[in-house]
Subunit: 228 residues, 2 copies
């Protein structure tokens, strides 16, 4: 089993605040897990006995709406921790985590996290900062969802994907989602989403190849996200 002390991903997570001793302790009791695309890491309502540190891959955090649709709240990538809020506030999980790519994650038991949280103020500071950022992002999302029409939201999220997850060799967005998933992120019906992608395509804003999407005109797309 690989060691936390040597894990590159650590540098990007809150765990970077831990010292060698703490890392070794965590390393000794952590559990490496491989998760295939589509598999669920945890589901809303569940109790978590620890947090997951994402080594590779990406997962979506979703919540089931009353109308039966799965809303994507946020994406989590390597370096991020999963389930921090739950462990800290000792609450059940509010969101489901489902892999959208094959993933490697490490499970770190609650007690280790709590101990580090209590004893290492730099670590707790890092975690709190992540929570604060999440809260800010969430507040911004509320405004977008409540006020922007679907077309602008789609443009907004495509640009976010472009900026946060980057492109593959051919210039397509590196994360491939199904149309249904994109609809769940934008907060619209799948058919509406497909129509809008077709429209963006016709207007020359994007180019699609199966599930893959390339943003051809980022300037225009950015403007569209802002409502022009």
């Amino acid at each position: 089993m690989s060691k936390c002390e040597q894990c590159i991903v650590r540098q990007f997570s809150s765990l970077k605040a831990l010292n060698k001793t703490e890392l070794i302790r965590i390393s000794d009791c952590k559990e490496s897990i491989v998760i295939k695309r589509g598999e669920t890491i945890f589901e809303e309502g569940q109790h978590l006995d620890g947090v997951y540190c994402v080594r590779s891959g990406i997962c979506k955090l979703t919540k089931l709406s009353d109308n039966g649709r799965q809303q994507i709240i946020k994406f989590v990538k390597s370096g991020d921790l999963l389930g921090q809020r739950t462990v800290i506030s000792n609450d059940t999980v509010n969101l489901s985590a489902i892999a959208v790519q094959d993933m490697e994650v490490c499970f770190i038991p609650k007690r280790e996290i709590n101990q580090a949280f209590q004893e290492n103020p730099r670590f707790s500071g890092e975690v709190i900062n992540v929570l604060c950022n999440d809260l800010k992002d969430a507040d911004n999302s509320i405004v977008n969802m409540a006020q922007k029409p679907v077309k602008e939201r789609l443009a907004y999220y495509l640009m976010h994907f472009h900026d946060d997850f980057g492109l593959d060799q051919e210039g397509y967005l590196s994360v491939q989602l199904s149309r249904e998933e994109i609809a769940g992120m934008v907060g619209t019906a799948t058919e509406s989403l497909i129509r809008m992608l077709s429209e963006f395509n016709k207007k020359g804003l994007i180019e699609t190849k199966g599930k893959r999407i390339k943003i051809k005109d980022t300037v225009q797309m950015e403007r569209m996200a802002e409502g022009f």
Copy 2:
């Protein structure tokens, strides 16, 4: 000037975790402020040099959308602290705070809050818990905004008002908002909101008297909020 040690509101805020010495220190440098309905406490983009502790009254936290509408993200009432996220993550304010009732707030300088945060783990624990709850609420709001139609969102928020802020002597919701403000909370156009209230009125779900709203059928309203 009144003293924090004797302030009843303290019991309901994160400040309850502070000991006498800490409270006296804060009390000595805090500043009491009276804010009239409609006045702004702070605006998005601004820097804050401290947090506000709400003694009485209610304010709305809003964010201006690209389309020029003011979205209400959340309400803050007595016992709550304002600006915690900003002070902790040393960021500019993301939301504007505007009084919807006359308020009394106390301004507590950043340095005092930071010191208490560093030195008193019970206090930081309380603050973190508040942030975690805010995050959970925000995630739930995203789903509501993205997936529910306006009618259901209105029912949902009316019920929240009913449960969180209670009723006056005559059974009307105790917080009075303008139609425009309610629209900004639900995330819709003012005219649409007014139409929906008329509809609720005709159906016997609510009763209005000027700005005041009474929920006549909470059971039905609850069901409506869930999409029936």
